[in-house]
Symmetry: C2
Subunit: 211 residues, 2 copies
DNA sequence: ATATTGACTAACAATTTTGTTAACGCAAAT
DNA sequence: ATTTGCGTTAACAAAATTGTTAGTCAATAT
C-alpha cells in the first residue's frame, strides 16, 4: 500500500493507539491508565501497543512532550507582541488562556494530578513550563512598569497578578465536577460560561490595576 | 524526637497503618498508592494491612469519610453566624478556608486528582460536598441580598463570588510545585504567603462588591 | 495448668498488569 | 518464484500487586 492511499483511509493502528492513550492518560493519569484498556479502546490487540510504543512509560513521555509544546504556545502567544498596551496584553492573556483551557479541558486536571509524588517523571515538564512562565512574567512586569511610569496603573507584582489570573481562569475547569454538582450545572453551557468568565476575570483583574 | 519515631513508638499498629495510608493516598491517589508501601512506611508487615483493614478500597473509603467531615466543618463554620455583616462573613470565609487549606495542603490536589474517571468511588464525596456548598452559597446570597437592599454593595451572584473565592484561595496550593518552580519559591515561606494571600484575596473580592 | 483470644509473621496464592515471542500472512522487492 | 520485511495475532512469560492462611507467641481468662 502506498502512502497516498494511507492518507485517505481511516487512522492507522499507530494513530489509533496514540489517540486512545492520550484520552486514557488524560482521564486516569499514568498510575491509573491501563495499557490493555488503551489497546481495547483503540480496537487493536494488546501486543500492538508494545509493538509500536515499547512501554507504557515511553508512550507517556511522548504524550507529555506534545502537551508541553501545546502549553508553550498558549503561554507565549499572548506576550509575543510588546507593542500592545497593558490593557490589551492582559485581555489577550486572559482570553487566550481561557480559550486554550476550554479547548483542552482535561489538561489542567491531568497536570495537577501528576504533579505530586512521582516528580522524576514530570521533571522535564516542570522545567520547561517554568522557563516559559518566567518569560511571560518578565514581559508582563516590563509592561506594568512602563504603565506605572505613565501613571496609568498602580504598582503591582506581575507574579501575583499572574497567579490571580491563572487561579480565576483554571480553577473552575479543574473543579468542574464539583462546580457542576454543587452549582446546578453552572458550567453546562460551555460557550456561555467561557465568554462570561472572560469578561468577569478581565474586570476582576483590571480593578486590581486601577491607579 | 521526630515524627517517624513517634509513629513507631507511640502508636499502635492500626493507627500506624492508618497514618501511613493517609499520607500515601493523599500523595499518590488511589491508583498510585501501594498497600505494600503503606505497610512498609508504617513499619509493619504487609499482612497487617489486610488484617486490620481487609482491602485497599475499604481503607480508602474510611479515609475519604474522614476527609468529608473535615471539609464539612471548614465549609460550614464561616457561615454559621448569620448575625455578622457581609464584610465580616466574607473575611471569615476567605481566612477560614485559607487556614484550612494551609493546614491540609495536599487535600485539594488529592480531591481534584481523584475526580476524573472513577466517579463511582467518589460519588459519595461529590454528593456530600455539593450539599454543604449549596447551604453555604444560599447563606451568602441571603447576606448579599440584604446588603444590596441597604445600598452597601452591588448585586452579584453568590455562586460566581464563591467560585472566585475558591479559585483565588485554592489554586496556588494546587499548583504549588509549578508556582514555586516558575516563581522562584514564591510560596517558600508558608506563613508569610498565607497571610499575604488572605489580605490580597479579601481586597480582590471586596472590590467586586463595591456599589 | 490449660484453654482461649488477638496480634502477628512468613509463606503462599490469586489476580492484574506489563512486556515478549514465535509464527503467520501479505505486499513489495529482487 | 522466492525472499524480505512489516503488521499482526495468540499464546505465553514476567513482574507487580493484592489478598489469604496456617501457625506462632504472649497475655489473659478459666
Amino acid at each position: 500500500m502506498n502512502s497516498e492511499d494511507k492518507i485517505h483511509q481511516e487512522l492507522d493502528t499507530e494513530a489509533k493507539i496514540l489517540l486512545a492513550a492520550e484520552k486514557e492518560f488524560m482521564l486516569k493519569g499514568f498510575a491509573g491508565a491501563r495499557t490493555t484498556s488503551i489497546a481495547e479502546a483503540a480496537g487493536v490487540t494488546h501486543a500492538m501497543f508494545h509493538y509500536y510504543f515499547r512501554t507504557k512509560e515511553k508512550l507517556f513521555d511522548r504524550i507529555i512532550t506534545e502537551k508541553i509544546e501545546l502549553l508553550k504556545d498558549a503561554l507565549m502567544k499572548p506576550v509575543a507582541d510588546m507593542d500592545l498596551t497593558l490593557d490589551e496584553m492582559i485581555r489577550n492573556i486572559i482570553e487566550g488562556h481561557l480559550d486554550f483551557i476550554a479547548a483542552n479541558p482535561d489538561l489542567p486536571r491531568f497536570i495537577i494530578g501528576e504533579l505530586s509524588g512521582n516528580s522524576e517523571r514530570f521533571a522535564l515538564f516542570l522545567d520547561k513550563i517554568s522557563t516559559y512562565a518566567q518569560i511571560m512574567i518578565s514581559r508582563m512586569q516590563e509592561k506594568i512598569d512602563s504603565a506605572v511610569a505613565e501613571g496609568l496603573c498602580c504598582h503591582i507584582d506581575a507574579r501575583t497578578l499572574m497567579m490571580d489570573i491563572a487561579s480565576l481562569n483554571i480553577f473552575p475547569y479543574l473543579a468542574a465536577p464539583i462546580v457542576n454538582a454543587a452549582l446546578d450545572n453552572y458550567m453546562a453551557d460551555a460557550d456561555t460560561f467561557l465568554e462570561q468568565r472572560k469578561k468577569d476575570n478581565y474586570a476582576t483583574i483590571m480593578r486590581k490595576l486601577k491607579p
